[in-house]
Subunit: 255 residues, 2 copies
């Protein structure tokens, strides 16, 4: 199987979608065939990459309900070597819709098996919750990437998230690794950010990526439906996500 | 019934918890008996207000499963005139646990009825999702407050959220009002923020509160378990939440 990276954190607004979009686009630019799966009912990855939701007929929801719709849901993106499985608002009720099915935790993993030979990387952008969708993503994944904002509330949930990862490794997916923790919206001038990052590095030695700084170009890019590498290629935000992509490639090869 | 305000937005990290804590504490400071309900599995309102989760025996989860546990879950806060119903991680599975029950949408509303005479205000901090918990909060509420970060992704979900509110008004709660939209982490120097706020004001005329600026004291306060009015009372963040509380009081009296 290719590397399947689940971008997870139940804390909201920490940069999961921004990381998913920009990592996917840099991997594609570096020559890797990449699939980006939008597992969030908000479908921000879908719109942030320039797809028009009104034109899409299928989404991840349809695949989870009926795996035969995989081919119809898979769609090209505006960028070479990058395909997308779009998100949709109906994902909000998926816990209730698949909650009573047999092997409800492994539905996504089973759906992705036929795609392994087509892609070099598969990324999954997760919703801000530890629900059945996020569990499905972590069961299907070979590793997780955890974006964290260096503030108090973001730190609180980190212990619970890593405990969940241990449970999933023990019960469903023995190969699930933590690829790393990515500090986002980092401002080295604020002592809170410095304290939190020092705290994380002491708890997760050697598992913290170089921080992504707060950079306005990163929040402007999605309103143009572009990744930052096309919207503002010389910005600090673009350079740091390019460097992060190289760090990911390096860690994946080591694993 | 007293005003029951649900603080909602499925977009993550827009300032729901920061708004819930600081509004609750200023209402209590102004002399109003206030109940803050933490309906988020992350339980950030619970820890942000200084409660130690390890000491708590019950939470909102217990009440939704068995309304007789209301008295046990209700707890005082460190601040006069402010009580809390804590959140808990087990709320993450509530959709599955109450999803098949009769009148699953009105469980919270029914639980709160015995409390009406004790409080002048009830606030509900919601999780970043439109799930059964958020629906319960909107069914129980007399009005919603929608914090919005003035960025692209936050704008995308606003239409879906207001549509959901219309559906809830038609099917469950004819009195549900939109008290207002609160722009948060606002930086007037960035054109994206100015454009988004202008967009919101044109779509929701007369329903937009004065913006809360980005202010580091607001993100530092929860790590001390204090509302900003006690952590940094002279900060811009404190003054703007104080002014916002007065705006809320004014709008509630008008309604
Ligand atoms: N490094 C950064 N600098 C500045 N703004 C950023 C940065 N990273 C993300 N943002 C902005 O912050 C907001 C939150 O980011 P994003 O939506 O990617 O987070 P998320 O974790 O996917 O949120 P959710 O929990 O709702 O899915 C967005 O408006 C985004 O444009
Ligand atoms: N006006 C502000 N200025 C600076 N930082 C802020 C402001 N409002 C909130 N924050 C910080 O931004 C982060 C997100 O805020 P908060 O946790 O209140 O949002 P939320 O909508 O409750 O998130 P979630 O969707 O995870 O429940 C927190 O770290 C908080 O301290
Ligand atoms: Mg997202
Ligand atoms: Mg919150």
């Amino acid at each position: 199987s290719p590397p399947i990276l689940a971008i997870v954190n139940q804390k909201g607004g920490v940069g999961k979608t921004t990381t998913a979009i920009n990592l996917a686009c840099y991997l594609a630019e570096f020559g890797h065939k990449t699939l980006l799966i939008d597992a969030d009912p908000q479908a921000n990855s879908t719109s942030g990459i320039g797809l028009d939701q009104a034109q899409l007929t299928h989404s991840l929801y349809d695949i989870l309900m009926d795996p035969h719709t995989l081919e119809q849901a898979l769609c090209p993106s505006p960028f070479p070597r990058l395909h997308v499985i779009p998100g949709h608002q109906n994902l909000a009720s998926i816990d209730l819709d698949i909650g009573r099915m047999v092997s409800r935790e492994t539905r996504l993993k089973d759906c992705l098996t036929p795609l392994h030979s087509f892609y070099d990387f598969i990324l999954i952008d997760c919703p801000p919750a530890i629900n059945l969708i996020t569990v499905n993503a972590m069961v299907a994944a070979t590793a997780t990437i955890i974006p964290v904002q260096c503030e108090y509330f973001a730190l609180e949930g980190l212990a619970y998230l890593t405990q969940t990862q241990v449970l999933i490794r023990e019960n469903f997916n023995p190969n699930l690794d933590l690829l790393g923790i990515l500090p986002t919206m980092y401002d080295a001038r604020t002592s809170l950010n410095r304290q939190v990052i020092a705290n994380i590095e002491s708890v997760f030695p050697n598992q913290v990526f170089s921080a992504i700084p707060r950079n306005i170009k990163l929040s402007e890019a999605p309103s143009h439906g572009l990744p930052v590498q096309l919207y503002a290629p010389k910005s600090k935000g673009a350079k740091r996500y390019q460097y992060f992509t190289q760090e990911v490639l390096h860690r994946v090869q080591q694993a």
